[in-house]
Structure formats: C-alpha cells, structure tokens
Symmetry: C2
Subunit: 212 residues, 2 copies
Amino acid sequence: KQQYLVAGLGRFGSSVARTLYGLGHEVLGIDLNERLCEDLKTEITHVVQGDATDLDVLRAIDIEQFEAAVVAIGTHFEASVLTTLRLKQVRVPYILAKAVSWEQVQVLQLTGAHRVIFPEEEAGEHAAYRLLNRHLVDYLRLDATVSVVAIEVGSWVGTNLADVERQSGLTALGVFRAGRMVAVADSDPLAPQDKLVLAGHNSALQALTRMR
Amino acid sequence: KQQYLVAGLGRFGSSVARTLYGLGHEVLGIDLNERLCEDLKTEITHVVQGDATDLDVLRAIDIEQFEAAVVAIGTHFEASVLTTLRLKQVRVPYILAKAVSWEQVQVLQLTGAHRVIFPEEEAGEHAAYRLLNRHLVDYLRLDATVSVVAIEVGSWVGTNLADVERQSGLTALGVFRAGRMVAVADSDPLAPQDKLVLAGHNSALQALTRMR
Ligand SMILES: Nc1ncnc2c1ncn2[C@@H]1O[C@H](COP(=O)(O)OP(=O)(O)OP(=O)(O)O)[C@@H](O)[C@H]1O
Ligand SMILES: Nc1ncnc2c1ncn2[C@@H]1O[C@H](COP(=O)(O)OP(=O)(O)OP(=O)(O)O)[C@@H](O)[C@H]1O
C-alpha cells in the first residue's frame, strides 16, 4: 500500500488520482481550486487546497513519504515546471508529469520528470487512426517503430490468419473470440465477431488505414 | 484520398487534423480562434476561421463532401453538442466527438456522435497503471474486461513464458526482442531487453500493479 501525490486535480489529474485510489493506494491530491478540491474530497484518501509550488506546503504534507508524484498542472506552464523542480528538490523518487506542448515535454524532462506524457496529442493520433479504419479497436506502441494492433476481423471474415498476415504485413499474435484469446491455426476460418491481435511496423499500421 | 472535417483546433483537434493530413488525406479545420487557425494553416489542407455550429458556415465549406467529422470542442459544452447536431442534420456519415465529462459523453452519444472519446480520463487511467508498475509499457482494451498488455521483462528475466503466465494470470501472445516479435518456446529463458505481449482479464492487469 503506497502513497501517491497528485498535484493538479483537473480532468487528467483527478482521473489518475481516482484510479490509484481504486487500486487500493493512498492518494493525496492538491489543487489551488477550492471547488475541485471539494469535488474530489470523498473520492480519494485526502485532498489539500494549496499551492503545489510552495515548499512549505509540500513539507506540511510530509512529502518524504510519497512513493511518487504526478504533476497534472498542464496549462499553467510555470507552475508545472516549478512543481516538478520542487518535487525534485525534496527528493520524490519518481515524478510523472503531464505536458500540453512539445516544448513543455522537453522542459519537464530536462527539469527532472522521469516520465512526461502529452495525452491530447496521443489521443488525437489514436482517434485519427480509428477514424480511418473503423475496424481498428486500438493500438499500443512497443517502441517508436513497432505497434501491437487490435482490429475487428472486418472483411477478413471467412479468410484465415495466413491471409491476414500476407495482406496486412503484420504478424498475428492471437485471436480474441467469445470473450477470450483462442488458439487459431493459420488456416482456420476467422469468425464474424473475432478481434485480431497483430503486431508490426508503423508502415503496416498506416497501411491498415487504407484498408476497409 | 478522403476529406475530413475537424471542428475545434485545440490540442486534441489539431493532433487529429495533423495525423489525418500526414496519412495523406484532405483535412479542413475550423475554429473560432484566429490565432489557432493561423498556427495550423500551413500544416493541413485548409483552415477556416468560423463557427462550426452555424449551418451557413457548414454549407459554405461544402459539408456534403466530407467522409467524416471530428468534433474537438471539448469544454464548450453547448458548441460541442450543437455542432454534433448540425453535422447530423447535414448528414455527415460519421461523427467522432471529444468529451470532457461523463455527462457530455452520454449527451454526445445520444445526439448522434458515432464514437465519443474522453482522452484525459483514459490517459489518467493509463498513467496510474504505468506509475504503479514501471515495467508496464502500455495496454489496450479488447473489450470491457480483457486487455492486451505490453510489459518489460523486469524481474522475469531468466525465467520463461510458462512462469510468466503462471505468476501473472495472463496469456503470453509474444515476445518483442531486438526490434521485432520473435517466436519463443514456453521454456526458453527470457532476455534482459525483452518486452512481453500478454493478454488477460482486468483483474490480472490490476494484479500487475502489485508486482515489481
Ligand atoms: N500552483 C498550483 N498548485 C496546485 N494546483 C495548481 C497550481 N496551478 C494550477 N493548478 C491546478 O492544476 C489543475 C490543472 O490545470 P489545467 O486545467 O490548466 O491543466 P490541464 O492539463 O489543461 O487540465 P486537464 O487535466 O483538465 O486537461 C487546475 O485544476 C489548477 O487549479
Ligand atoms: N462554435 C465553435 N466553432 C468552432 N470552434 C469552436 C467553437 N467553440 C469552441 N471552439 C474551439 O474549440 C477548441 C477546443 O475547445 P477547448 O479548448 O475548450 O476544448 P478542449 O477539449 O479542452 O481542448 P484541447 O483539445 O486543447 O484539450 C478551441 O480552440 C475553441 O476556439
């Protein structure tokens, strides 16, 4: 059971806080905005109304006890950077920060955030891919060039995994059928409700957007 | 080569627009904010400064020609809903909308958006999981209860896939090694840079957050 600090209780911050709490961990949230603090008070361990850039505030909440901190103060650039620097200053072991621009990603990384995310940018990219191929359920990146893709069988119904691999340029990892992953031979016909889990290069992911 | 409309050129909207354009499609962006329009002018096919809720504006941009539209007007609730209703009214075949609250998700679905996403909420959840298990690369949902997980081998190094499956409660789909998916027998030792692609129930995904 670990303790986490979430600085900034906007949409992203409150979602991180609630998820951590729902998984059984202690979560302290801090925000300048009184209403946001009120909203979240009953949903996580503890909420403090205050300034996360203020060293006295951080010391008052016993900052040394925290396993990790999330800086979820996106649009307030100075506050986002200063909070990250403060958390570094008081030696929080792990800092995850949200950015809302590419400049901010770099600044946060250089000021000591161990991981920086830019959710609207990533979500926009995912939405574009899903718009272009309505059968695309989702994808995740294994690294900068290789992704794992989940896709509805679509027009591949009745064909088999060997056909899918040949046409898509992707490697079949498995078939999701009737609520679970099933072992399917390369020549077995694919069924209407199947979802395919495939892996491959970005170029193949892009090629999927030209398929129907 | 298809035409897409993106209404709202904030961080999410501009990301969708740029991704669609980068994949070779024609993208028209519309926003009330002149500066945002200026910023994006050279990056997509065409940008119009205007009100996406205005039927005359939509007709002036030849709305019938669009394959699909994205309503990326998150925080302006009425504009987000009215734009969705207008796009429905002029029969755009497919509408994807961004929401910033659970109420808005439901309203947009009921007013005709074919797909509604709530990126900050989903990103917050993902960030929480990755914070709890630093080896977690990412995960995607196959449905409400089953996910595909990409995870660094971590303390499983030197063990094998049979051990991983037994300890994690997840099914091994493949191993990512040296930049590609490799066939690994259940008893082969896993290497330090390996990333494992696993699938299983949410309960198993949650269990990963208690492992180190
Ligand atoms: N110095 C500070 N100390 C604590 N909280 C702060 C500070 N500065 C800003 N905040 C809070 O951070 C929260 C998130 O900021 P903001 O809404 O600008 O970012 P965002 O990344 O766009 O948010 P969202 O997560 O909703 O997309 C706000 O609720 C704001 O009150
Ligand atoms: N009626 C409208 N017509 C066109 N654009 C609009 C209209 N109303 C709002 N917008 C634009 O929608 C954009 C996105 O809105 P807003 O920033 O409130 O949403 P958001 O979802 O928080 O954005 P982000 O994608 O940056 O997270 C803004 O740039 C705004 O100018």
